[in-house]
Amino acid sequence: MSTHKPTSDRDTLLQGTLDLLILRTLEAGAEHGQGIARAIQEKSADALLVEHGSLYPALQRLEARGWLRGKWGVSANHRRARFYELTASGRKQLLEEAARWRRLVDAVGKILGPGFAEG
């Protein structure tokens, strides 16, 4: 369906969303990549499936901007894993992103109008 679309379009869209989801997930505490992916999937009741090919570059990018801090540690499974935690500027960013998302959802909702195509 979307295979003919230029990849960059979908990326831009996903990028903002994924960043927000990651930041929100980490608000609860440090977590490793697979844990973040699982958390997003579970909290959304399997509605959102994180594409791993995007998750790690996103983590990388967020870390590069200084919103996340990555550190190697040992997971509950006794395996080595790279844990990510929010930095102070990450928390600020999360609030900004969340507010922007709310504004976006609000705006889009207004356009669609109440009751449109709702199950």
Binding site: H32, Q34, R38, E51, S54, N77, R79
Partner: protein, 904 residues
Amino acid sequence: VSVLWRRRRSELDFAEEIESHIDHEADRLMREGMSAAEARATARRSFGSVARARERYRGAKRRQWLERGAEDLRYAFRTLRREPAFAAAGVLTLALGIGFNTAVFTTLYALVLRPLPLPDADRLVTLHHRFEGRYGRAVNGMPSMASYPEYQEYRERARTLEGLAAYARIGVTLGGEQPLAAAGMLASCDYFDVLRTRMTLGRGFAGDECDRRADGVAVLSHGFWVRQFASDSSILGRTLTVNRQVVTVIGVVERGFGGTELQAPELWMPVTMRPRLSSGGESLRGTMLDARIGEVAVARDQPVDDLSDPNQSWLSLVGRLRPGATPADARAELTAVARQADLAYPGRITSVDVYSASRLNHPETRSLGGLGVGLATLAITGTIVLMACLNVMNLLLARAPVRQRTIRIRLALGAHRRRVIAQLMTESAVLGILGGAAGLALAAWLPRLVLPRLPLHGLQLDLSPDLRVFGYALAVSLTAAVVFGLAPALETTRIDLASAMRGDRVGGRGLRGSRLRQAIVAMQLSGSLALLVLCSLFVRAVLHAQSSDPGFFIERVYGLRPSLREQGYDATRAADFYRQLEQRAAVLPGVESVALAQWLPLSARSVAPLVREGETEVGSSRLHVSYMAVAASYFPALGIPILRGRAFSQDDARPSNPVPVVVSAAMAARVWPGDDALRKRFRTGSRDLEVVGIARDARTLSLSDPRPLFFYAPLQLGFADPDDGGPVDVTLIVRSTDRASIDPALTRIVTEIDPAVVTTLESLEQRVTDQIAPTRLAALFAGVLGLLAATLAAVGVYSAMSYSASQRTREIGVRLALGATPRAVTWMVLRDGASPVLLGLAAGIVLAAAAAQLARGQLFGLSTLDPIAFLSAAALLSVTALVAMYRPARRAAGLDPAATLRSE
């Protein structure tokens, strides 16, 4: 720089993170009830487009290779830290191999390459004669040495040399209330100038002191000054009595200066004092130098004054090159000078060799002193490095399946294989260098362990590591890293990507990997077998040497050797001295028998070419025989039976022509094969000799020579023989009930006869122990290394067997399902693993036989193919290998066929 690193995470780190993700996902799937393999495959599949993840991660930037190298290095250290057991095993193995090898190298380097610790030592050279053609020459020391006129000629005419000094060792006795034996050195006048010796006190020799009629002077070594004169600074101007000559102390050299030789002298005197210091101008001809140093004295024909004899080898030469001149220049120039001297000796062609000065210079000591043995040892320890490499290679291969998981991802991420190999090799290099560093530490410590156990004393040998030693160790370490790292790196990265992504374990590399490991096992076994055989050969040789009859008594036999020559005794006075000594010693309580002989057995040798009666030319028979002068009482005192003919009588103790001699059975058989040796005549040097008796063979020269070509000449005390001047220094041999009772008594007798004479009692058993010491040490090292190697080989056998059995799990399952008994399966697996083991053992036997041939000199006549040594070592190793093979085989037989088939 570290900030930069922290900010930009490495590709490797990223690959690991992804691997960790897949692991966690697989864990989760397994909790949900999936099998391990299935969970992994699913986790991997669901990860999705790894390549794209990587592309985004990497961005467009290309990294510099330097940064990559740093990253590889960091990663390598982290990997090793994360696997401490693996790292420790690898480093330890390498350290042992490289340590032994570097220790041997350090010793050889210190002996023949390392510049002397003297100012501008790189311009110091040593000069050595090489004679060819037909010639006769007196030798006091080594044939390559120079005469005093030759030295003067070279010093005058050499334009390539700034200075040229000559020196010769001389044993001296310091007179006084407590006479003292010391190591003396005769040195030419400019000796200290050429070597640029600094003085703690006073000065070196000045021109007029080197006149042969000048009053005697001496320069002391720093250590001797501290020990004997309590660092007394008023020593200058004091007189000492040295070999009955009065000498004035004019200087003390700086601390640490010990001349150019291996053994540091304690005092130096002008070389022109030689005639006075060695009794009355008489030549030292007939002096037999210590066989342990490997020097050989050859008979001379005419007694001449040492300083004017142009055809006598006794002086060592050391020169200083002019700036810009090379040893080759000096060689050409001095050889030309020597060829002019050849005009007086038709048939002689002389060359002068010029080497950079080091501790071991004389070609004779280089060859006899064991340079060949040293190089062989270097080669043997080199094979230990190889064994260590094989072991580390085995470890790396065993780890390969684990490493491959990360590597597969990296390759899937699009990394070049070359890049991954470079990273793996960096890891090997780090391992190699760590091993090398530990090895260097071991190499620095080993000589301290080994040298005191060898019968060597007071050697000036600098064994501390310098840049060249470091360079050598580094080169060995890196070579080792390539040897053990390359094959596993190639093997680990040989991954079929498609099957890798499916999560297959084998991926086409199984067979190659197991072949490689089998080859390694075979090589390890052969190396350890060779070492174990050498060890048991050495042990057998020590036992053999201790238990086998040397042909003379050893227990409770002592030798007393007063240094009369140094005290200026002539033959007549010496004869008086010995007769008194012998008479008084014989009646001491506890003494069973006494005898006079030139030497205690096992201490020295004198070699002369032999000419049978009727032959004319020297050397036409090419037979060289050794000899020793003994009194009639020698044979009964040492228990040597005369097989035919007679022993010496009292009449033989005075000159006669021909001189009656007793030959060894071996010499009788060799020199006159198929003929009766009795009453045969022959010549050595200028003496005519006649065989009057044949004695049973005895290992008089060395324990390793059971049947020497040897004869006994009668000791003719007090009589000047035609070319000798009569024996002055001889040994009193005493057999007594115990040492304690005779030691002080004999010393007292000597002091009562002449208070100036110094002497010590030596036991023949100690001589035997000294001769056996190197072999004992060799046995210890070969044993330690052999057991180490065998352990490594056993681990190798075990892991190779386990690996190949696990590769055949499916096949074994099928066989078991079809009704094969566990016993049959055990046998099948054992048979399968046996071929590299048998191959290794066979190669090891060949290797051991070759190594034993090299070590022949240390075996005391034991056969190099001694079956007990070979069989015991082979049996030990076979049992070890069998034990290592048994468990994997049993485990294979214990497989549950249903489970193995299901898992596929």
